[in-house]
């Protein structure tokens, strides 16, 4: 009764690019330009505002850390809400899914960091209180870095609920509401937990980046670790930077121990089958919660409420009745037409907004420049990916083939991967300044600094998944050296490696926006590329160039995904999967 295993990152099972991807791309591009246009007017009245610098005493750090964590938690709650509704909608309605899933796909490829400034201005214009608007923008930015991945995972789980479980639940007269909470959500819990962890790890990068933003003349600085380090950079305060890094490490350790370990451990309950080779994850926090009488007392009313929740009371029953009433065909047809009309209207609006941008605002003379800069960043991304591959594939295979080492190191690698690499950027900047290195070349490693871990822990997982008998057989056949790598190790890790490389490449593109321009005090280091193009446009509040930059980068990412990564991944999956 094996219902599937948990992939390390979201695996791509969706088939080829189709016309729905085009509609989705249009809608997102339309939304982007529309938001930009809406934000443009809002920028002026705020231009005079500048934030007072945060005090740098380390004693303030716990408070900042708490505020940063709070943003993360709120964004995670939002992402969860989004996941449960959006993915469910996409999975339940075939017609909606045809559009919703390509949209997710493209949203995943949009560089969020580039969009951050637009979001900030947009939220500032929506809310009268300045701080509140900026908070919303930061949370929104983190949300956008977390939600797509989670929604994708949940969607795929919903689609793969075993047919006989659905049949059993129908045979037992579950209401759709009850089926959702008692069958579909539990089935998705292991995958969802895993994707939450991945999303959370990625989110730290964005929370750091989103706390301190300057758009044109507007300087926004929310109290938190990200702003703290921004001030420290401006003041060239090395000690403060070190404090921030240490604080971040502690925060990560605590969230892991207090939140994710217990969650992961608890989610094992929902796995259909336990892998006897792998030791079950353990968590002292969960053990404590399970054994504590106090907690049991507190949890009891909640559990009762929960158990009552899925049982339809009369009102809910009526609602369900209303929702599931068999309508006459004419009614259905009319609803369909209405739906089509709304959809067409949205498409037209998107089309109009894109056309308006292209005709009136597009800096056409920049097109060539943007493409060239895109190629520069492309070269950087791939060079760094190759470098990370050369380093981490051997290391990962070595760790993964050694089961004891792997079980201790894997959680540590996951923890390290969550560390927001942008906290380390000033250290690199300082080195470049002091050693007078060429930023065009030496800023490149920053792209992969945070993303390299995806390669490592996927390779570890791949090496761990190698069947023991194959390892024994290859030893029995005296396979050694390159022959061993070629016949066993590389094919075995290939599907895992590509999953990791795809994620890492996406991360690197995104990171380029903050990594191609790094400052140390007044010194500004820049590497020419699409990332720095977007970054400069943001700083100058030049929205026309910003949109062009973001659209180009999304285009690059989508194109490379479609033409390179997906075929490679599919090939590896078909040829080298064990089963």
């Amino acid at each position: 009764m094996k219902y599937g295993h948990i992939p390390v990152a979201v695996a791509w099972t969706r088939s080829r690019f189709n016309r729905w991807d085009l509609v989705a791309a249009l809608l997102i591009l339309g939304l982007l330009t529309l938001l930009t246009t809406a934000s443009r007017g809002a920028l002026q009245p705020l231009s005079a505002i500048t934030a007072a610098p945060l005090p740098l005493e380390p004693s303030h750090l716990p408070r900042y850390a708490a505020q940063t964590v709070m943003r993360m938690v709120l964004a995670m709650a939002l992402s969860l809400l989004f996941t449960l509704s959006y993915a469910t909608w996409a999975a339940k309605s075939k017609r909606a899914g045809m559009l919703l899933i390509p949209m997710l796909d493209i949203l995943q490829s949009v560089p969020i960091l580039g969009f951050l400034s637009v979001a900030v201005v947009f939220f500032l214009s929506l809310t009268p209180g300045r701080a509140f608007g900026a908070e919303c923008a930061a949370i929104f930015a983190i949300f956008t870095s977390q939600a797509w991945n989670m929604a994708f995972g949940f969607y795929q789980s919903l689609r793969s609920v075993p047919k006989e479980l659905i049949e059993a639940s129908r045979n037992l007269h579950f209401s759709p509401w009850m089926r959702f909470w008692k069958v579909e959500v539990p089935f998705a819990v292991p995958q969802l937990t895993w994707n939450m962890m991945i999303s959370m790890a990625g989110g730290w990068f964005f929370v750091v980046a989103s706390e301190s933003i300057s758009v044109g003349e507007t300087q926004i600085s929310l109290p938190g670790i990200g702003s703290y380090i921004a001030v420290a950079i401006a003041q060239q305060n090395m000690a403060a930077i070190a404090w921030a890094i240490v604080t971040m490490a502690i925060v990560l350790l605590l969230t892991d121990q207090l939140f994710f370990r217990p969650l992961l451990c608890w989610s094992q309950r929902f796995a259909a089958e336990q892998d006897p080779d792998k030791p079950a994850p353990r968590s002292w926090v969960l053990t404590m919660l399970r054994r504590s009488a106090l907690f049991a007392m507190l949890a009891k009313p909640l559990a009762t409420l929960w158990n009552r929740g899925y049982r339809p009371p009369a009102a809910q029953g009526r609602l369900a009745q209303y929702l599931h009433k068999v309508r006459p065909n004419s009614w259905q047809r009319r609803m369909q037409q209405l739906w089509l009309l709304i959809f067409l209207a949205i498409c037209l609006l998107a089309l109009w907004s894109v056309a308006h941008y292209v005709i009136f605002d597009l800096p056409a003379h920049d097109l060539g420049l943007v493409a060239l800069r895109g190629l520069a960043t492309l070269a950087r991304v791939f060079a760094m990916l190759a470098l990370a591959t050369l380093i981490w594939v051997p290391v990962g295979v070595w760790i993964g083939t050694n089961l004891r080492l792997a079980t201790t190191l894997q959680p540590i690698v996951q923890l390290v991967s969550a560390f927001p690499a942008n906290l380390l950027f000033p250290v690199v900047a300082l080195l470049i300044v002091k050693l007078r290195l060429n930023p065009e070349l030496w800023l490149s490693p920053l792209l992969i600094l945070g993303a390299q871990w995806y390669i490592l822990f996927n390779v570890i997982a791949g090496a761990m998944a190698m069947p023991r008998e194959l390892k024994d057989a290859s030893r029995n056949l005296q396979l050694k050296g390159w022959l061993w790598w070629r016949t066993l190790a590389l094919p075995a890790i290939a599907p895992f490696y590509f999953t990791g490389a795809i994620t890492a490449a996406g991360g690197a593109w995104n990171a380029s926006i903050v990594a191609e321009v790094v400052s140390w005090g007044d010194e500004r280091l820049m590497a020419h590329g699409l990332g720095s193009y977007i970054s400069m446009a943001t700083t100058q509040g030049d929205f026309d160039h910003l949109v062009l930059g973001i659209a180009t980068m999304s285009f690059f990412v989508v194109l490379i995904n479609q033409l390179l990564w997906r075929p490679l991944y599919r090939y590896a999956e078909r040829r080298f999967q064990f089963n």
Partner: protein
């Protein structure tokens, strides 16, 4: 009537529990046509009987069970339960699944209770009824275990308890014992029949889908035999033996034999090749016939067993199946394939090797391939067709999709894939054509 508790019920009750009239089920095919799965099914279920639906995979018996359960709707015909049409999952019809279909995140007792919770019963009643069911089905002590901690047999007991606890009138069982090992399955069957004949279970009738003839004879009062493509009820066998039934009883063996004959007659009707018309082509046997799932090693093994001194070329199918520990689903495809390839004949529940079959049994590796090659191209139209097409092509190559599309005009995409898979296996063994799974091309072996 072997259930005294229900027997007196029936005295005062009228009308059948369930009635199916002219039920027909078909699915749309991609080319716009329709694929007929069930046709003209008539069935009346009375209180107190266990009905067996016996047939091979693809005969639509599981589809029929899902129609009764209200999990899907028939294309035509009428199903009534207690006089009212079935339009969705009906209360009073519970189901036991082949794969158990337990919720892995719920404990045994939670799994058993969940159906009662869905009905919104009061907490105390849920608890007492669940404990009662667990006690009856022999799961005491396992209440707080998770399904993954249990063996297959215990899991299926949970499946039974979960279905029985809602006190259904009709219990539907979809090959409930086929995922279990032989001994566990026998224990569960016996336990079930004991509870049934003692009238302990709160059910009035059972419908059991199976492909195991002995199981059907062991448990049922009536066995309905299904033909394949489309599924139709071809015959009915009544079993009036009292429970518990003894498999060694000559009456039991006689019933098994009769069932085998009924099933082979029906197979013969589909592909009428008896000893007489050896040289003429199979009537109506184009390329669009679904091929039986028979692996070449199994075919060779069966030929060798038949050729052995024990059988000397001829065997009684039930005896053969019994000694090989095989069920209908395992043995019939093999026997049918041998029949199709004229390596054996099937008649009245007996299988007999043809001279070519005996020659095959005696031959070495290369000669075996030669014989198989000859018979494959002569009697398997699809294999001959593939060779012809490949031969006509300039590069002697063709993508697999070319044949897949052709087959899908006659059968479901799934069946087409399986059929092609089977013929590729045979063709590879016979060295009639080669297949490259990487680029998915078929080609003539050594066209030079």
């Amino acid at each position: 009537m072997h259930n005294p508790a229900i027997a007196h019920h029936i005295a005062q009750n009228t009308g059948p529990l369930l009635q199916m009239r002219d039920v027909r089920q078909s699915f749309p095919k991609p080319d716009g046509g329709e694929l007929l799965v069930l046709d003209g099914v008539q069935l009346t279920v009375q209180e107190g009987e266990i009905i067996g639906l016996l047939g091979r995979s693809g005969s639509g018996k599981s589809t029929l069970l899902r129609l009764i359960a209200g999990l899907s709707m028939p294309t035509a015909g009428e199903i009534t339960y207690l006089g009212t049409p079935v339009t969705g999952p009906a209360q009073g019809i519970a189901m036991v699944f082949q794969s158990f279909a337990l919720f892995p995140w719920m404990t045994v007792i939670e799994n058993v209770q969940i159906g009662l919770k869905a009905l919104g019963l009061p907490e105390e009643e849920i608890r007492s009824r669940a404990l009662g069911a667990i006690d009856m089905i022999g799961l005491d002590g396992f209440e707080s275990a998770y399904p993954r901690e249990l063996s297959g047999g215990m899991r299926q007991r949970v499946g039974f308890a979960r279905a029985l606890v809602v006190h259904p009138n009709i219990l539907l069982m979809d090959e409930p014992f086929s995922a279990l090992d032989v001994l566990t399955a026998e224990t569960l069957r016996t336990d079930f029949i004991d509870l049934w004949s003692e009238g302990q279970m709160p059910i009035k009738a059972v419908i059991l889908v199976t492909h195991n003839i002995e199981e059907a004879i062991f448990m049922c009062d009536r066995v309905l035999i299904f033909s394949s493509n489309p599924g139709r009820i071809t015959s009915e066998i009544r079993i009036d033996m009292p429970h518990p039934r003894d498999r060694l009883d000559p009456v039991f063996a006689e019933l098994v034999e009769r069932t085998y004959v009924a099933m082979t007659v029906q197979a013969g009707r589909q592909r009428p090749t008896t000893g007489a018309g050896r040289s003429d082509h199979l009537p109506g046997a184009g390329i669009g016939i679904m091929l039986p799932q028979a692996e070449i090693n199994d075919l060779a093994g069966l030929i060798e067993v038949l050729d052995s001194p024990l059988y000397d070329g001829r065997a009684d199918l039930p005896i053969l199946a019994h000694s090989l520990r095989m069920a209908v689903d395992d043995l019939f495809p093999l026997a049918e394939t041998l029949q199709m390839l004229r390596l054996a004949d099937i008649e009245g529940g007996d299988i007999q090797l043809t001279p070519a079959g005996r020659e095959f049994a005696q031959a070495g590796v290369d000669d075996r391939k030669r014989i198989f090659h000859r018979h494959l191209l002569a009697y398997c139209p699809l294999a001959a067709h593939i060779c012809r097409v490949l031969d006509q092509r300039s590069m002697h190559k063709a993508p697999i999709t070319r044949f897949l599309n052709e087959l899908e005009d006659h059968m479901s995409p799934e069946a087409a894939r399986q059929t092609l898979h089977v013929v590729i296996g045979w063709g590879r063994y016979a060295e009639a054509f080669a297949y490259n799974g990487h680029d998915q091309y078929l080609s003539l072996e050594n066209p030079s």
